[in-house]
Amino acid sequence: MGLFHVSASPHTRDHVTTNQIMADVAIALIPASAFGVYYFGLNALVILCVSMLTCVLSEYIYNKLMKTPQTPYECSALVTGLLLGMNLPASVPIWIPILGGVFAIIVVKQLYGGLGHNFMNPALAARCFLLISFAGRMTNFTVTGVKESGVSSETVYKVLNGASSVDGISGATPLAVMKAGGEADLFDLFFGFTGGTIGETSALMILIGAIYLIARKVISLRIPLTYILTVAVFALCFGGRGLDANYLLGQVFGGGLMLGAFFMATDYVTSPITPMGQIVFGVLLGIFTGIFRIFGGSAEGVSYAIIFCNLLVPLIEKVTMPRAFGCKKRRKG
């Protein structure tokens, strides 16, 4: 009789792999990106593709140059690229996603040790880097090829109402409209016929993707739910509109909150691993988003809130270590 394999238990494994999880995230992002392409036109498709390609290639070339083995996690870079693209306005020139993709993969991810070691969400860090460096281009929500939508006859939107001089065209995203005291059209907001980045406008499409992720047990509701609820409560308390359903729902469905809550705040690597920590994380995200939106200069706050809270994750984990089964004392790690 020949020799048999010997290894320590357990001898069986779940079939879910890292790459499969990342592929699931990419699949879940399809409805929202497809809507973006439908609504914003072909340019959006080009941006998304360039962004994904840049990320995957950056990872490949980095590994080649550094002589590290090619990692079998190309889906992870793909998701980063897709998310980055979805966080860009459709009107940006082609070099913006290229620059952003290289920054996300090389600077934010690989230089910090690669998959699992980055402490900020690469796509969002790249978006914020681009926002700071190229505020004008990044906030020009010129919409071309928009279908008859009814939200407004305007075809030009702008997110940062504080920078109203940008490109000289005035206009606003729903959040900016509300910030200026106006009303958002909830129907358009929910379906996505509104201004914004390629992937963030349609709450409905994002929810469809989110349901898929939850059904596949890739994400739990802990972070997104606490995040969204906190934003609503914060807006209720500090928004200055009281219990105004239109305003509150506008805050929830408007801007990058849905995309951020379900797809970026839930990024495994940059969110807390402890169940309690995830709830704390969601609440903090909601508070910071609220502060940035209501008291900050701009109407948007999701991206900054997420990368800021990313930095707090180690601290959050430290104070939310669970109590071991049968142990009375909570031991801090």
């Binding site: 690669g114 699992g116 270590m321």
Partner: protein, 439 residues
């Protein structure tokens, strides 16, 4: 609502392969090997020498200390040698080797029926001790020590662990279907030692037939209850079982008795029944032989000391060349590199798989997905514990409750990056326990 605990997981359970196969008696062909270490505690001391004749049910080795157990011959014949032989752990243990004369002549007086009610508690405990009974769920803790807590009156529950949560195992299930009355009577005997104790038989809800059979038998016992547990691994882990059945929590430094509980597995309770009510010491084992490489998966009644290779043969041999052989379940069992190993009191199953799932995947970096955290029944954070283990930081490891890990394997099972978490924890725990002993 079925009772349960927080964490755990569902795996492919593989029980269909053997769950409908009745227990069949398997007679040994070759020599019988009785390792002196087949329980927790001091090895047993041989009472026989080379050349001595032995009878079935004869005590051939006595307990080597307070925490130890004696060993009973399962056949009649002659002692061929006393020499080191390999056991499931891969370690060599001094063993008594008996040449079987196939006559099965028994020691006189054995097999007689007796009523436990006519025995004193001391007599019952002595009988259990002399029968060499140990925890047959896998740990092998001497049962007579377990049923002798500091204070009998402080025991509130005697729990039969009938959850059989490990995938593929069906031996306990078959016992409950084929002779549930022995199980129930064994529990009555055990419970009679403790004046305030209630009996609980805890069964997972994927075994409705067993639940029905056992429930019917205890319907007139006011102080014995069948508790239905949710089917989930590791429902049968002692701490999780106690919690599900009684709501009480214990940690790694406590004994079940500290929470007023005594927990025994199904076959152990049946062994108590045999010893007390039928004057038959422990010399056999119910074992499941299964896996996709086995031609005819079966459940056997087998004499301890029988060679594993004979089990495979009796199950029709291998229909395909196995890549991995496991003694016990796939989650916590031990992988074997040879079949030349004897059945002991703690052997619950022999599995043979054509594929080694553990070797199929490559290990990748942790993506911090949190899956390990949500399945850990010990409510520890395996991801962080792994960092401590990899840095050989024993202090941090203990601070992160590494000693609370029951080595259930759930974290390794779910990890999408295929990191060998449990395996590292095992090593670290061993080395910490060793260094504690040295102090």
């Amino acid at each position: 609502m079925a009772l349960t605990f927080k964490g755990g997981l569902h795996t492919y359970d593989g029980k269909d392969l053997s769950k409908d196969k009745p227990i069949t008696v398997l007679l040994p062909k070759g020599d019988l090997v009785y390792p002196m270490s087949q329980h927790i505690g001091a090895p047993a001391k041989p009472l026989v020498a080379k050349g001595d004749p032995v009878l079935v049910r004869q005590k051939i080795a006595e307990a080597g200390g307070f925490i130890s157990a004696c060993i009973i011959s399962s056949v009649s014949g002659t002692v061929k040698a006393i020499e080191p032989r390999m056991t499931v752990s891969g370690a060599m243990s001094p063993s008594i080797i008996v040449e079987n004369d196939h006559e099965y002549r028994t020691v006189e007086g054995f097999g007689e029926k007796r009523d436990y009610k006519s025995l004193t508690k001391e007599q019952i405990r002595e009988i259990v001790k002399e029968a060499g009974i140990v925890g047959m769920g896998g740990a092998g803790f001497p049962t007579h020590v377990k049923i002798t807590p500091k204070d009998d009156a402080a025991i509130d529950y005697v729990i039969v662990n009938a959850s059989e949560c490990e995938p593929y195992l069906t031996s306990d299930y078959r016992i409950m279907l084929e002779y549930p009355e022995k199980l129930v009577e064994g529990l009555r005997i055990e419970k009679s030692l403790f004046p305030n104790a209630k009996g609980i038989i805890a069964i997972e809800d994927n075994k409705p037939e067993a639940i029905a059979k056992v429930s019917a038998l205890v319907k007139d016992d006011s102080d014995i209850e069948v508790k239905v547990l949710k089917t989930k691994y590791p429902q049968g882990a002692e701490r999780q079982l106690i919690y599900a059945a009684t709501g009480r929590q214990i940690n790694s430094s406590m004994l079940p008795a500290d929470a007023g509980c005594i927990v025994d597995n199904v076959d152990t309770v049946v062994a108590i029944y045999h010893a007390v009510a039928e004057t038959t010491p422990l010399h056999r084992r119910i074992i499941t032989v299964t896996g996709d490489a086995v031609a005819d998966p079966r459940n056997f009644w087998v004499r301890t000391g029988t060679n594993y290779a004979e089990l495979v043969e009796a199950a029709g041999g291998f229909k395909e060349t196995p890549e991995k052989i496991i003694s016990g379940g796939p989650m916590m069992g031990l992988a074997l590199f040879t079949l030349d190993i004897p059945v002991t009191k703690t052997s619950s199953a022999l599995l043979a798989f054509t594929k080694d799932e553990a070797a199929e995947y490559e290990e990748g970096p942790c993506i911090r997905c949190g899956r390990c955290v949500s399945v850990c029944p010990g409510r520890i954070v395996p991801q962080k514990l792994m960092e401590a283990a990899q840095r050989f930081d024993d202090e941090l490891f203990q601070k992160l409750n590494g000693m609370e890990c029951c080595e259930c394997g759930c974290c390794t099972y779910v990890c999408p990056a295929k990191r060998r978490l449990t395996q590292s924890f095992k090593q670290t725990r061993r080395s910490i326990l060793d260094s504690r002993k040295k102090k």
